[in-house]
Symmetry: D2
Subunit: 346 residues, 4 copies
């Protein structure tokens, strides 16, 4: 089969013919229809310090995908919960089930996580084998959307880890996950959603996802405007999606006394923080978001999508065939893209 | 009546004769029996930048106290809930009841808080007038202990803002509030309580409050020992009580994946934090602790004290009469004191 | 001033001239614009066993209202949070602030609650005096809607005491509060809202408030349809608003394993319940709803109303002047009314 | 190997030689050391209506056990988390992992649960095969105690589904699980634990587990005494462990306004309940307890046991060899037994 492979140290990926993966004793085999290209894939392409310390090439890249079940292990078949022909997506974190975190229902923080497309072969390929327990049926959601439920799940996790109905939400950073977060906050009954980014194209996407107000730090007094829009209180919930080191100070300042800051964007360097003034005296709660809750996040997201409360399609701006990965990577690097999709199956 | 007054800008306090406070329309008047001396009082004594920017002298100092009701306003009397002769303590934050935080049950974060002994006359005096709604009956708790329920309440708030039964807790910093936190964690069913401080005298106090293990960063590999004591996982809950800028990095590193860090100690300067590594990838929750929940914290604390589950007396190391405030301040500055009490009434 | 008074034992109310209430030391005096007529007022009119055991006539009736502040006590004025001319509504439960429930933030369950229009003079009058702390500014919400925020608050409390975003909700009973609950569930991001009632007029109101599906037990297999609409699972949340003794069995059966049943409707007699089959083996949570959370519920409701997420106006079906109370009571008794409003001020 | 088998319809069990179970692809094989005899086993012995409608004989009985791993499947071995020689216990509910409840972290409510000793072969035998993911290492806890972690887990689940530190708890019914609940409430920091039963022997066990007060409804005014012991408020948490139909009314009446009633005991018939008076006007929360949270409950219990905070040994009153099952059943029927253990391995 075809697969995009990180073949060895250094930049780039190569399209190769590799053996179709074996469907293990608790697995299902999936024919990939669509796959999403993530910032992580960009790091892998560029072979930055994180990638070079984590990956052991050769490895098939890609962790966001949806497709069709073409084979089931005997165990998966006997459970009678999945069937050949089912359209599915999957959680890409393969977890141990035994560590403290797995035992406490926090499998997204498993001490022995193995991530597809990073620690083991991934989804930028014609086929992928996945443990049956990681697989979710799409139940009518198109595979193009199913392919981006992994990053959308990051947004769902970030937003719903708060009491959203009737709340005021500030989404700081409008990359694809930030834009999804805007849509999730609206779906979950937020009364006011404010989004900020330096990139006007991204603010436009945020508006199309339902932001009531968008702010550009280059032109707007972000904190002043937030105070104005919230009657001087600040917002109930800040979703820090920028990963920009300056984002934290803005996030803490934007939150109201007793508010909440959920942090998803991962800054590449340390931050100078005034914990006394910005966190302790304000009675803030900060929460670090990793992955998706397994599988509460997936369930809530599927409900939103199937009910039509959340429509992520405005964020999908580009589609490429598998062999045009270089173009996909390039468009992400320009900052002009929302979500970029690989169309794998004809 | 006698009162310790911050008379004007500059260090020190003076013992003066001042008029007995008037019992306002919703107040009760309390004869002070015991009062606690706090780090805040030290800042006020020394007239540091915080004190000089916040206080408007002359003001009677002191916010931790217990005593006896000697007069009730007509409104307080008609409610028939408090009576002359009741031994009581009181929450020293006078709140507005109308701001967003008050309306949401977070009155400890009231936007218009007025603190006794800081923003208005306080408790280092023979009498103090307090709104009846701020007053809690001691119901058998001695006034000496009642006088330190304010700082003990900080510890109760810090510890109980987590799921404690069966958990592992690391108390970082063993000043009086840290030592109280050790006792509260034990009372609340923690399975393992580890405490750290550079001061051996304070570690001794922590052990007397029930710490299973005490660590001195000058001699112990704190993080290594915590890993050892928790089977490699790290602790469920860190209570950061040191306020030392280095405390944060240790706190975040000591917490397990998915753990919680409740921050009470207020560092005097900013901290350099690696949010990606220490908070986001670890899925941590951070919580800034201000004051005491009004009045859930007081209720839980009174339960612990009356049931004998928590005995703070080992932490009380010094007692002085009102006129020896300079000695009280001095002993706190040496770092050799636990909690220091003023014996106000004969 | 004019006031509708329960003058003595027996049915009916009388319109009388009574003295304007005195604005007490912590009160504000409000000129009533609109008032809502409640099922409770019907019980008082009819002088049923509950009413005759609870009320001590003469008492001015009415507990749902909104109007304009015309006078402030010195204490209320000095807080500078309310002003003459402010349009406001108010929580009608006057609480003690000292009992266990008040201290724990559950003032809606105060052991010494005094309810306006029941235990003390109420709002079917030209003026009412209210403690300033019970008063909420309308901030642009019309007084007609402000007058029904008390019963709407019951619905907000019932629905939001659950995790609503993405959930499936069954509202059992479509009187005014049931219809409000439909709207609140939609505002809070429910994915599916099903409503049932025997009265087609009420089902029509439920649909106008956003119900995805409405069921009439006289013609529909309610449980069968719910299973169908939820893929066989049952719903996440049932709001029992009917108060019909048969409602409980249906409510428990409609909830999914691990679901939640919030009970607001108060049946007039006991219920036969199979706790083993319906509650324990299903892992259900049941919650009894009393009043409105003080004041979290009011805050959330105001957010929904001001943001336009919730519009209760379809439920208001009748308006009468104060003197036509008999007509108002009559139309409620027919079961054809949604919410009935008294227009008090010209 | 030897096994106690329900051979066919009708009362009793037989000790038979049956083939040693096969260690399936994700299983481990365990040599049983100790097993606990449960009320459920009594129902199976007596072949009551529940048993005859649920079991498909022949089936090996028994679901509470602990023992030693003697064989691992290749999959279980490759995970390197369990090893031959490990002393373990196991959750006896084998769940599907795919239904709504499993996906939401409520696997204890799995729609397709298969229970060992009921729906499939169980633990009253020399060996049992269990999915590796159901197995918990004892880490120093003796197998005799490990064998009763299943029912003790019911108690842990019942008690910890509430905020226990500083609370007042009433345990209604002092069978083995009720007695465990007393110990768990103490371990978790309850300030007051009251227990009731008609059987003086059981009240003695409850006292040995730490009950502050014990009540016998035949001689004590249970509700009056509870009011007295709680200053008139009622208790924060009731654990209904009796399963007696009268238990519910007492449970609801014993709870304070805003309190919580966790229901574990399963009455054999319906209950007449005054929901308006007892649940709705009181603002109660009721929670039906099924099984143990997978695996949060097990984790918390292991913490309590390993830290010495909970010692269930006083409740173990009888020990029998496997072949004396009739004696074990008999002693349970007398009501004189606490927990009854089968000593399976020499």
């Amino acid at each position: 089969m075809r697969a995009l492979v990180k073949a060895g140290p250094g930049p780039g990926m190569v399209l190769r013919d590799v053996p179709r993966p074996v469907c293990g004793p608790t697995d299902v085999l999936i024919r990939v229809h669509h796959a999403g290209v993530c910032g992580t894939d960009l790091h892998i392409w560029e072979w930055d310090s994180w990638a070079s310390s984590r990956l052991k090439p050769p490895v098939v890249v890609g962790h966001e995908f949806a497709g069709e079940i073409v084979e089931l292990s005997r165990e998966a078949a006997s459970a009678e919960l999945l069937a050949v022909g089912d359209l599915v997506t999957a959680e890409g974190h393969i977890v141990c089930g035994h560590c403290l975190q797995c035992r406490l229902g926090d499998a997204h923080l498993c001490q022995r996580t193995s991530i597809i497309g990073v620690d083991r072969d991934g989804a930028f390929a014609d086929y992928i084998a996945m443990p049956a327990s990681n697989v979710m049926k799409l139940d009518g959601i198109p595979t193009e959307i199913g392919a981006i439920m992994d990053p959308m799940g990051n947004a769902v996790h970030t937003v719903l880890e708060a009491q959203v109905p009737g709340s005021t939400v500030f989404v700081l950073g409008c990359g694809p996950i930030g834009c999804f977060a805007v849509g999730v906050a609206r779906a979950a009954g937020a009364s006011l959603v404010i989004a900020s980014d330096y990139n006007p194209r991204r603010l436009e996407l945020a508006r199309s996802m339902g932001a009531h107000a968008t702010l550009d730090p280059a032109h707007d007094d972000v904190l002043g405007r937030i105070r104005e829009l919230t009657g001087g209180d600040g917002v109930d919930l800040v979703c820090e999606m920028s990963g920009h080191p300056d984002g934290h100070a803005t996030a803490f300042a934007a939150a109201r006394l007793g508010g909440r800051v959920n942090l998803l964007g991962t800054p590449s360097r340390t931050t100078v923080t005034d914990f006394a003034r910005d966190v302790i005296f304000k009675g803030l709660t900060l929460y670090g978001v990793t992955g998706r809750k397994m599988y509460e996040t997936w369930h809530q997201m599927r409900r939103f999508l199937r009910a039509g409360q959340l429509d992520p399609r405005p964020v999908i701006t580009h589609r490429f065939p598998l062999e045009c990965i270089a173009d996909a990577i390039q468009v992400i690097k320009t900052g002009e893209a929302g979500k970029v999709i690989l169309e794998v199956a004809a």
